[in-house]
Subunit: 69 residues, 2 copies
């Protein structure tokens, strides 16, 4: 697994957004954006998804059993 916090941060920067702006676009609180970038794992899944959606990041799940479901 990857450093999601760093991934979000770098994408946000590239998009020229502040945490606050990203939070608004994703319709979540600024504190939550901060938490995600800090890899706090207690955040709501839906909030992570909201951020990823704004930043155009996709999620994929992989396992020995799947070449994608």
């Amino acid at each position: 697994m990857v450093d999601l916090g760093l991934l979000v941060k770098s994408h946000r920067k590239k998009a020229g957004l502040t945490q606050f702006e990203l939070a608004n676009l994703a319709d979540i609180g600024k504190t939550t954006v901060f938490d995600i970038e800090k890899n706090k794992e207690t955040v709501r899944w839906s909030n992570i998804l909201a951020v990823l959606r704004v930043l155009n990041i996709e999620v994929e799940f992989k396992s020995p059993l799947t070449e994608n479901v």
Copy 2:
């Protein structure tokens, strides 16, 4: 994005686990396993990770900007 609930369910079945057993292995509540399989997005990210870990499923994030960070 993929049907995570279905993915979890099929992997759990393949592993021969009940929801309750999976919950215990992941050290979370049975209700949460049920919720994940129902694609309830309000679950805690850490709980999803716990389940994926037990089932040996990896997460990957993809975007136009990354060939993996």
